[in-house]
C-alpha cells in the first residue's frame, strides 16, 4: 500500500472511531426520559399545578412489568417520566392518581406524611397524616424528596378491586385513589432527587432493583429552576 493510501486509511479509521464514540455518548448514554414543566396556576401567583399518576405495571416501553410514574404535560398528555421541572419559591399543588395496590413498608416510618402543607395529604377527599402500611390497603408508593424534606406515602388501592389498570397511562374509570397535596419548592435552584420506599421492584432482591433504580420509573428529579 502506498503511503498516501495508508494515511487515508488511518484517517478514515480515526473518523470512524470518533463517530462511534459520539454515537455511544449521544445515542445511548445521554438518553433520558422527557422533562415535564409544571403548569403555572392561572389564578394564584407562585403556585403551579401538577397532575401525575402511578401505575402498577406500566405495560409499555422496554420494561412492561415495571411500576412507574406518569406526569401530565402542558397539552394534557401523560408522559412516562419522573423528571419534573418547577419554579423556585413556589407552592406545587399535586394531583396524583394512584392506580397500584399497596403493601407494607420496609421501614414503617415512611408511612408518615412529612413536608406537605400542614403535613397532611388529601386522599379521596379525606385528610391523612399517617398511613399504617401494615393495615388496610397498605402503602402503594412513596413520593419522597429528601432535599425538600418531603415524604408522601401514597395509600394503596384495594387489592381485590375488579377493574385494575394494567397499561399506562391509566384513566380514572379504573380503580384508583385520588391524592392531593402541596409542597414548597424552596428558595434554592437545585435538582432534588426523589425516590420510593415501597419495595416495588418485584423480582429483585429486597424489592429495590429494576424500576426503583431507573429514572423514568420510581426514581426521578424535581428540578427547581429560576
Amino acid at each position: 500500500m502506498s503511503k498516501g493510501a495508508r494515511a487515508g486509511l488511518v484517517m478514515v479509521a480515526f473518523a470512524a472511531a470518533i463517530g462511534i464514540i459520539l454515537f455511544g455518548v449521544f445515542g445511548y448514554l445521554r438518553s433520558s426520559p422527557p422533562v415535564v414543566s409544571a403548569v403555572p396556576s392561572a389564578t394564584q401567583p407562585n403556585t403551579v399545578n401538577v397532575t401525575m399518576q402511578v401505575d402498577g405495571a406500566v405495560g409499555v416501553g422496554p420494561h412492561p412489568t415495571w411500576v412507574g410514574y406518569w406526569i401530565q404535560g402542558a397539552n394534557g398528555q401523560y408522559k412516562q417520566t419522573t423528571l419534573l421541572k418547577v419554579p423556585v419559591n413556589t407552592y406545587v399543588h399535586v394531583k396524583l392518581y394512584e392506580y397500584d395496590s399497596g403493601g407494607p413498608l420496609r421501614n414503617p416510618y415512611w408511612g408518615k406524611e412529612i413536608g406537605t402543607a400542614g403535613n397532611v395529604i388529601v386522599v379521596n377527599g379525606q385528610p391523612v397524616s399517617l398511613v399504617n402500611s401494615y393495615a388496610g390497603n397498605g402503602v402503594a408508593h412513596n413520593f419522597d424528596v429528601p432535599g425538600l424534606g418531603v415524604n408522601v406515602a401514597l395509600p394503596g388501592v384495594n387489592g381485590n378491586a375488579k377493574n385494575f389498570c394494567n397499561v399506562g397511562p391509566c384513566n380514572p374509570s379504573e380503580a384508583h385513589n385520588l391524592i392531593q397535596f402541596t409542597f414548597y419548592s424552596g428558595k434554592t435552584v437545585h435538582n432534588y432527587r426523589w425516590q420510593c420506599f415501597i419495595p416495588c421492584g418485584l423480582g429483585y432482591l429486597t424489592g429495590n432493583g429494576g424500576p426503583m433504580q431507573s429514572l423514568g420509573y420510581m426514581a426521578g428529579f424535581v428540578q427547581v429552576v429560576k
Partner: protein, 295 residues
C-alpha cells in the same frame, strides 16, 4: 563502544561522601522547615477538625503521618533532583560508575525502613485501641470501649436505600430523620442496614462504620464542640448513593434534651407503628405483598 568510567577523581567512598553530604544537608534543612510548617501552621487546621474526640484523634494521626512522610518524600525528591542534575550523560555516551551494590547503604536502608514501619504499626495500634476504636465500626460486640459507659447516649443508625434514619432507644424508641447530638457526651452509634451495605460516615464527628444488613456495627465517639456536621453514605449502594446524605447538629445538652422530648411526643403515634427496638432487623419475606422488618 566506549567504556570510559566517570572522570571524577578520588576513591568511590570519597566521591560518595562529597555528593552524599550535600544531599543530606539539603534534605535535612528542607525537611526541618517543612515539618515545622506542617506541624505548627497547617496541622491545627487539618480536616476533619476537632468536633469530637475521634475527629481530633484522626486529625492528630494525619498530622503525625504527614510529618513522617515529608522527609521520605523529600529524600527521594532531593536525591532525584541531585542525580538528574549531576549524573547526566555529557554527550560522550559513556557508561556510568560500575557498582552493583553497597552493603552499608543497603543495610542502612533495610534498618531504617523496618524501624519506620514498625513504629508506624505500633503508633497506629495505640491510636486505634486507646481511643476506643478511633470512631471506626467495631462490629456487634466491640472489644475497645470507652472507659466509662455510664451516661452514654445510644443512637441507632438505620441505613436503607437511600436514606438514613435514627432511632433513639433512650427516648421511647422513636425514629427521626434528623440527627441532633448533645455536646460533651459519650455516644454509641449502632449502625445497621435494612437492605444492602451502606456506610455511615459522619465526617466532622470522625465516625465511620459500614451499615451491614442483619448485623450491628458499633462505633464510639465523644462530642466536644457544638456545630453542624454532614452524614454521607460511603459505600456504593445503588442509584442514589451520591444523594444519600443529611446534616446533623451538635447542640448544648439542654437544647438536645428539649429537642428529643419534643420529638418523642410529636412522633408518639408513629413510634407505635414501628417494630420493637432491636440492634438488627431481620426482613421477613413470608408476608405477602412485600418485605418488611420485624425485630
Amino acid at each position: 563502544m566506549a567504556l570510559k568510567t566517570s572522570e571524577e577523581s578520588g576513591s568511590p567512598a570519597a566521591i560518595a561522601r562529597k555528593h552524599g553530604s550535600r544531599i543530606v544537608a539539603i534534605w535535612f534543612i528542607l525537611s526541618l522547615i517543612i515539618d515545622l510548617v506542617v506541624w505548627f501552621v497547617w496541622g491545627p487546621h487539618m480536616p476533619p477538625g476537632d468536633m469530637t474526640t475521634t475527629a481530633a484523634g484522626q486529625q492528630f494521626d494525619f498530622k503525625v503521618l504527614t510529618v513522617m512522610s515529608v522527609p521520605v518524600l523529600l529524600m527521594v525528591w532531593v536525591y532525584g533532583a541531585y542525580v538528574i542534575i549531576n549524573f547526566r550523560d555529557r554527550g560522550d555516551h559513556a557508561d556510568g560508575y560500575y557498582v552493583k551494590g553497597n552493603r552499608k547503604s543497603q543495610g542502612l536502608w533495610y534498618a531504617a525502613t523496618a524501624v519506620l514501619v514498625l513504629f508506624l504499626a505500633g503508633f497506629g495500634t495505640y491510636e486505634l485501641v486507646v481511643p476506643a476504636g478511633a470512631g471506626v465500626g467495631e462490629g456487634p460486640s466491640p472489644i475497645w470501649k470507652p472507659a466509662s459507659t455510664a451516661h452514654m447516649l445510644q443512637v441507632q443508625v438505620i441505613a436503607q436505600q437511600w436514606r438514613f434514619t435514627y432511632r433513639w432507644p433512650q427516648f421511647g424508641g422513636m425514629e427521626t430523620t434528623s440527627l441532633v447530638l448533645p455536646v460533651n457526651t459519650e455516644i454509641q452509634f449502632n449502625v445497621t442496614s435494612l437492605d444492602v451495605i451502606h456506610d455511615f460516615w459522619a465526617y466532622q464527628l470522625g465516625v465511620k462504620a459500614d451499615a451491614n444488613p442483619e448485623d450491628n456495627n458499633v462505633a464510639y465517639t465523644k462530642t466536644q464542640q457544638t456545630g453542624r456536621f454532614v452524614v454521607r453514605c460511603d459505600e456504593l449502594c445503588g442509584i442514589w448513593h451520591g444523594a444519600m446524605y443529611n446534616y446533623g447538629n451538635v447542640v448544648s445538652q439542654n437544647a438536645f434534651y428539649q429537642w428529643a422530648t419534643n420529638m418523642e411526643a410529636q412522633n408518639a403515634s408513629l413510634t407505635k407503628l414501628l417494630p420493637k427496638y432491636s440492634t438488627v432487623y431481620v426482613p421477613n419475606d413470608n408476608v405477602a405483598g412485600g418485605q418488611y422488618f420485624n425485630g
